[in-house]
Symmetry: C2
Subunit: 384 residues, 2 copies
């Protein structure tokens, strides 16, 4: 298993509604935590990558602004975007910058301040991530797309609204333990099932929330990590794939093909199988997304993902704990920050520093981060 | 000198005002040309990087849209942005993706359709690439920033408006030979000097024009290039650095510190000196930018760049031909496409395919691409 590039520091701001500071201050919150975690200063960072989705705040080319604020001049910086998977795309790119020999230590900063615009405007912008010529003018929004996936999964495999609700109940349970989550309330199954429909069959509690937040992941070469005597978690496997932007270009809505491909690549690179994963973070922007992830990542056969949640196998005590930090459903989903937040959770797990949600003896973890409706699929496997 | 990663195909659309198609069609124009040049099909491309500045067209996350249109699913794709230097940042990242072993063949597609919005809106958006809290609210725009640099250079070194006009005269001369340039008219020195002031001391003809356009550069590993029997131009040196976003954070306005640093990195990686460069493309968004580039790249000592243009040394027959394709001043500057267009020109030179503007025996070429007012500085050295 490769041990060429390590994660040596992780940080995350609280994910909140209506953050009062600017994007530079928001980014600093995660950066400071990650730098303290890594025990380094800005002059030791060779390059930075800033990950966010444009058009939420007024600042254009935010990487220049944020690099200056964080004391990261004159090192190179640039922006990477693959909507909701931007920060794992940034982490994969940082891996390449290090493995190629161009840099030894790279900071990947993800942020989003969604509260700068109204919730309706936010939906409209997310919709314009779909094809603005052939799809978004017809009113397609993210909840509607995932509702299509839910209907299809129900029809093909017999999964139900109750199965989705069980996923939210799990997320709510663990969200209470996460002091950086935007939702920290317990939810009973009935509460989820009785919440208003947003777009059938998805209800309010099947959807994650907009949030403001930031994350920061510091990566280093093996040599630099040794030199710094850093705490290391290794990048074992990386997978990245796409599906057609247009829904009409897909063969099936029962899962996300980009994720299946990305998972295969990541397992192959790591020489591991789904059974080797001790703990996972999956991109549960909607409950149906987590259910599909169980199957697309190989934790369950197609159509049998429901058994994992019905049997409690993705709880902390189960066979494969998933999103025991509350997931996007509890934490909130500040687009550019989300993937970094997922990676942070897994890094803390593999370092044995996850506190109340620690999976005992976790050595291998997986992150699944999706952009759009599976347009972009990223999978990262980490090992201690 | 490194011969690990090669450019095996280059393409560019015509740079025009008011392109009538969509961004996907615009991107296809450069892509088709590059793919034909490389002699490959989409299934052979391992990954694509899409470079553009957001907020010109309505499509968000354009990489997903363009990858689908170009037949590049399910390979990974993502967007990179460093404003006007986006596509050279993309090329540097593609180099890392290949050198790291993650991919063997990567397409870097740059595009911008600036005509989707008004010229005034375009200025406003470019202004918001500066700090929206402390600078752009005071009306700073790109011409104003570069005018500060011109004033400073005049004061420190005694350069003049006439020196700047000489640079435009050269650009106009070569622009006539470039059938992809937006401006193809000869300009006499008096015409330039008598054009209206935009922001003193910069006049209309000191400024490049907004344009719609696309570029595409195909990179491959040495092994893949051999396997494809491809025409190869090698990436010899890469440099990338930043300066503070805020103008108040700079020590001097006589040049661009990010470029000086990036040039030093690129020369060092290539084990070359400025005297080894046979032909160069520099980022002449304004005439003063080309003058500063002469000095920041080491073609002339600080303050002596004027001698190069006064003595005709940067003409085709001179010591160091610069922007003999007409530069941004003649070609136009479709933000995300510009760096790729510069690289294309140098690749054609090094392959001996530059036609009327061929620099005889050119073996080493340099590309200088700047984002914002030197916030981002990229230098690439290519060798045949």
């Amino acid at each position: 298993m490769p041990k060429d590039v390590a994660i040596i520091g992780v940080g995350q701001s609280a994910f909140v509604r209506g953050y009062e500071g600017s994007i530079r201050e928001l980014s600093f919150e995660a950066y400071r935590e990650a730098m303290q975690d890594a025990g380094i200063t800005s002059s030791e960072v060779d390059a930075s990558i800033v990950c966010s989705a444009p058009e939420y705040d007024k600042q254009r080319s935010p990487s220049g602004l944020i690099a200056e604020y964080l004391g990261l001049n004159p090192q190179p910086t640039f922006a990477i975007e693959s909507v909701c998977s931007s920060s794992t795309t940034g982490i994969r790119t940082a891996y390449a910058l290090i493995k190629s020999g161009l840099h030894d230590l790279v900071a990947v900063i993800g942020f989003q301040k969604m509260s700068e615009i109204s919730s309706a405007d936010s939906q409209e912008r997310m919709g314009r991530g779909a094809d603005i010529m052939w799809e978004s003018p017809f009113g397609t929004t993210m909840p509607a797309y995932y509702a299509m996936h839910a209907r299809s999964h129900f029809n093909t495999f017999g999964s139900t609204e109750k199965d989705l609700a069980l996923i939210r109940v799990k997320a709510a349970k663990y969200g209470q333990l996460n002091d950086k989550a935007v939702y920290r309330k317990d939810l009973a199954l009935d509460q989820v099932l009785n919440s208003d429909y947003v777009t059938t069959p998805l209800k309010r509690f099947d959807c994650c929330a907009n949030a403001d937040g930031s994350s920061c992941i510091i990566l280093a070469s093996a040599e630099k990590a040794r030199e710094l005597s850093a705490k290391t978690v290794w990048i074992m496997g990386l997978g990245s794939a796409t599906a057609s932007l247009s829904m009409t270009g897909r063969n099936s809505y029962d899962g996300l093909e980009s994720v299946r491909l990305a998972a295969r690549q990541a397992y192959e690179m790591a020489s591991l199988t789904p059974g080797d994963i001790d703990v996972a973070e999956v991109h549960d922007c909607f409950t149906i997304a987590e259910l599909m992830a169980y199957e697309n990542l190989g934790f369950a056969e197609p159509g049998r993902g429901v058994e994992l949640i019905r049997d409690g196998e993705t709880y902390l005590e189960g066979r494969i704990p998933v999103n025991v930090d509350g997931g996007l459903l509890s934490k909130g989903h500040p687009i550019g920050a989300t993937g970094g937040s997922q990676v942070r959770t897994i890094v803390l797990q593999l370092r044995g520093e996850a506190g109340e949600i620690q999976v005992p003896g976790a050595e291998i973890g997986l992150v699944h981060n999706v952009g759009g409706v599976g347009i972009y699929g990223n999978v990262i496997i980490l090992g201690s």
